[in-house]
Symmetry: C2
Subunit: 168 residues, 2 copies
């Protein structure tokens, strides 16, 4: 193949690399100090090991959910499947319309729960690390449950996909 | 659908959720203080915003690459495509066999570079945060380049996949 030329500016390099990268899609919810449901679609959720069970995710500190996340004790992380496409889109669009339907209810720790998710884990926030305009949230998994089996939902090339056949 | 039952133990809940979640696959490389190439397959790489351009990833502090990563100034993050399946497997297997081929060379900052990747970004480590048995690495993107176009490589259900058709 052609020689790599390390000459792009770092912003373009970052954007170009992540256009070629796929990510799993999740919805993260919490409750505001006033008791309002808050949440957003996230592609950054990652396991940080099972002993003890930890997850991390990032959130933009300019996002509509940031104020509630920064004050919250717990979050619910919902992994999404192909059947959750509409939910993924809604939770990434106008924040005033994210909880207008009847597809959620308050669950453990008063967290908003979408039962159509493929799995839900309830997490207690351990640490919030501010990095420039974003924050990295580290949270302990306290319990959870699985929902219906479905093919995973992915974000790739500015759209939603599911994984194709296994490669070998 | 059936009522969610929040009764699983947290370890099982975490593992069950991430079995239903897909992740993009990358290879992260660095060079040891002795000049040896070091690297591993990672599913945790995430963009942390473009202003300034930042990435984060996690690494197990028991991993073969940990000592070099903890001492490194820079890393190279390679996003992988379906054609990189063998590379992804090799960089997740026996660490003594990861650089035995001639498919890499030393590049910017003496970092080992696999030119078959779909994109490469060169990153300067800003912060390493130890969290239990893992570490979270925050790094500034300093430059990068794109390689050949290819369908992204994903890790899902304990195997490698590429994204299927776009959902709509």
């Amino acid at each position: 193949m052609s020689e790599f030329a390390f000459a792009e500016n770092p912003n373009e390099a970052l954007l170009a690399a992540f256009r070629r990268h796929g990510s799993g899609v999740a919805v993260i919810t919490t409750v505001s100090p006033e008791g309002q449901p808050v949440g957003f679609t996230a592609t950054s959720i990652t396991s940080l090991g099972a002993k003890p069970p930890l997850v991390m995710f990032s959130v933009a500190r300019g996002a509509s959910s940031w104020d509630a996340i920064s004050k919250a004790s717990h979050v619910a992380v919902h992994t999404l499947g192909a059947k959750n496409l509409e939910l993924a889109k809604r939770m990434a669009a106008d924040h005033t319309q994210r909880f207008v339907g009847d597809d959620w209810k308050f669950g453990p720790e008063s967290l908003p729960i979408f039962e159509s998710a493929t799995a839900i884990i309830v997490c207690k926030i351990r640490e919030v690390i501010n990095i420039e305009q974003n924050a990295v949230v580290i949270a302990d998994v306290v319990n959870g449950s699985v929902g219906e089996e479905d093919n995973a939902l992915l974000y790739y090339r500015r759209g939603y996909h599911s994984p194709g056949e296994a490669l070998s």
